[in-house]
């Protein structure tokens, strides 16, 4: 119970932080705006409190009282600062078409959610400590962070060579911080963290799409998401891939929210997007690739459309937002973690030989196909559902959403190229590497891919009054 209260404290802190930006102010529907703020707050709260623990560990002040006192002090500052939070005067949000069957979609979603909860209960009862990487990497390192004195640094000891001591510490740091506040090491903290991120992903997907494409689009995206069984299976595993998928989605989501605002808030949207991208880098190595790719895409996009001067006026907010996550990562990488050997001890000719080997491309292609099929099951595969919706809804381009759609599409495309490149030149056995990691890479990018797909799909909408009259006329004849 104390673990849950500690998690709630982090969510509250993050919610207050996101609320300060006023990015969800004045957006409709109000429930979606509030849900968006809460979901983003959950991820922001985890990032901030994990960062606080790391800072306190570095300063030798990470006792229970030290952690609690610091968090409460920041909470108080954020609460007081709410009086001066940014407020949106007006938004450029489009009028969203009504759809009378939203209640039916919601009922379907609730039914699927009830089953999902039953599935997760079964998973947690069977394996409360999660899957392999949870006890071999993420939660194991959280235990090291709780060690007395300077022994917490053993979390990055090169002696833990089978445990990837070079992996960044956001997830392990948050679990350790929650254990410290709860006063006990129990599976409740990592489990709560995993479910918090999964819930935040669904909530953010529904909220962002409801705000930009209407409630029906948000609910449909959640239904397709609920058909993505390989993603859902991983929630109870307690890995870092679901948190990473959240930070990817939140980065794109902030730029979407920025589209609806002008002036200072439009710039703050870049800062919050950069903040999430920065903490993605602190979550997993793939997050560092995401930060680099997304920064390059954004710089290229803004530079081409606005010119260097205007582009920099926005980009500097993005980089300022990314700074906290980057600073923590730099400290960890420079002063604690053993060096990363991405390419192993391979020479350039060996790497070139791998790049020229058609067998590696074939193996990668086969694995991609296998993992794509494994995303779901038979007729209820999420891609079947997406194809079905695309057939009836078709594409409906909204010029106002050009930036978030282009940014998300180009960044995800860039990430795909990075992943493919790493697989092609990796020093590990390729079949083993693909078999143990490709499914999790899908997990990282699947929610943002769904988000991007629903931004371009047509929206279910009630017929306009003139259309209804025409329909009645046809019936009468």
């Amino acid at each position: 119970m104390t673990a849950l209260i500690s998690v709630a404290l982090a969510v509250l802190l993050g919610w207050l932080l996101v609320r300060l930006t006023g990015l969800t102010d004045e957006l409709r529907p109000r429930w979606a705006a509030r849900l968006c703020c809460l979901a983003m707050g959950a991820g922001a709260g985890v990032a901030v409190t994990s960062g606080i623990l790391y800072g306190l560990l570095r300063a030798g002040l990470a006792s229970r009282a030290g952690v609690l006192g610091t968090e409460l002090a920041i909470l108080a500052v954020l609460a007081v600062a709410q009086r001066r939070r940014l407020r949106a005067a007006a938004t450029g949000q489009p009028d969203l078409a009504r759809f009378r069957f939203n209640g039916v979609l919601l009922a379907g979603l609730i039914a699927a959610l009830a089953l999902l909860i039953a599935t997760q209960v079964s998973m947690v009862r069977a394996a409360p400590h999660g899957n392999w990487d949870a006890f071999a990497i993420w939660n194991l390192r959280a235990k090291f962070l709780l060690a007395p004195g300077e022994l917490w640094k053993n979390a990055a000891s090169p002696l833990l060579e089978r445990t990837h001591p070079e992996y960044p510490l956001l997830l392990s740091g948050f679990v350790a911080r929650t254990w410290r506040l709860a006063g006990a090491v129990s599976p409740a903290a990592p489990l709560a963290t995993g479910y918090l991120f999964a819930a935040a992903v669904v909530a953010l997907l529904v909220a962002l799409l409801s705000l930009s494409r209407g409630t029906a689009a948000g609910l449909l995206a959640a239904l397709v998401f609920f058909a993505s069984t390989s993603y859902l299976e991983q929630i109870s595993w307690q890995y870092a891939d679901i948190p990473l998928s959240f930070y990817f989605l939140a980065t794109f989501g902030c730029l979407l929210l920025g589209v609806f605002h002008t002036g200072r808030q439009a710039l703050v949207a870049y800062a919050l997007a950069g903040f999430f991208a920065g903490f993605a880098a602190l979550t997993k190595d793939e997050g560092s690739a995401f930060l680099v790719v997304s920064s390059a895409v954004l710089a290229g996009w803004l530079g081409r459309r606005l010119g260097a001067r205007q582009a920099w006026s926005r980009l500097r907010w993005w980089f300022a937002g990314a700074l906290p996550g980057l600073a923590l990562l730099a400290d960890f990488r420079l002063f604690l973690a053993p060096p990363v050997k991405l390419l192993g001890d391979q020479t350039l000719p060996q790497i070139l030989e791998k790049l020229a080997d058609p067998g590696r491309y074939l193996a990668l292609g086969r694995a991609l196909l296998t993992e794509t099929i494994a995303l779901g099951d038979g007729w209820s595969h999420p891609l079947v559902l997406l194809a079905l919706l695309a057939a009836v809804l078709r594409v409906e381009w909204d010029e106002r959403l050009r930036l978030p759609i282009g940014f998300a599409g180009a960044t995800l495309g860039g990430m795909a190229l990075v992943y493919i490149g790493v697989y092609l030149i990796a020093h590990y056995d390729l079949d083993w590497l693909l078999g143990t990691s490709l499914g999790r890479l899908y997990t990282q990018v699947w929610p943002p891919l769904l988000f991007a797909a629903f931004l371009v799909l047509g929206r279910p909408a009630d017929p306009a009054p003139a259309e209804r009259a025409s329909r009645r006329g046809k019936k009468a004849r």
Binding site: A112, A118, T119, M123, A126, A127, A155, S380, L385
Partner: protein, 148 residues
């Protein structure tokens, strides 16, 4: 013709999406319950913390602890046993033994099919170790007499 976005085709597609999303969940639920009945806690991590609790009291936090087992570290069962022990004993660092980086103590982690007394005395002889304490659960704490 009515636009596709409000046509009966759309409603049929939405009904199909709801049903298929629900059936995906149903399939996942059935598969999960079946799997969990057959393989509860497949790596038996829940059992490791109580199993190593008494040994933990004998092992220092400050220096790496050697690790020996009858289960090979190049097999899944052996690696799972190693990480189970490592997770239970963290923040102590376990290092597969023999290794010069290991400190004064060595942990033995033996599966039930092993005759514990035989395995313990054989290992002690082979590596010049002294048995500090053998626990009923297949856990043994050795002292490396080569270390000060």
């Amino acid at each position: 013709m009515l636009p596709a976005r409000s046509s009966p085709w759309l409603l049929a597609a939405l009904a199909a999406v709801i049903w298929l999303a629900f059936s995906a969940q149903l399939g996942l639920y059935e598969a999960t319950v079946r799997f969990n009945k057959q393989n509860p806690d497949p790596y038996r991590i829940s059992f490791q913390e109580p199993r190593f609790q008494d040994a933990a009291a004998l092992l220092p936090l400050e220096e790496p602890v050697g690790y020996v087992s009858n289960l090979e570290l190049n097999e899944v069962r052996g690696v799972a046993a190693f990480f189970g022990a490592q997770y239970a004993l963290a923040p102590r660092i376990l290092i597969p033994f023999p290794d010069d980086r290991a400190g004064r103590f060595v942990l033995g982690n033996f599966s039930p099919e092993v005759e514990l007394a035989d395995a313990t005395s054989r290992l002690a002889r082979e590596h010049n170790l002294k048995v500090v304490r053998a626990f009923d659960s297949g856990v043994v704490v050795f002292e490396n007499s080569k270390r000060p």
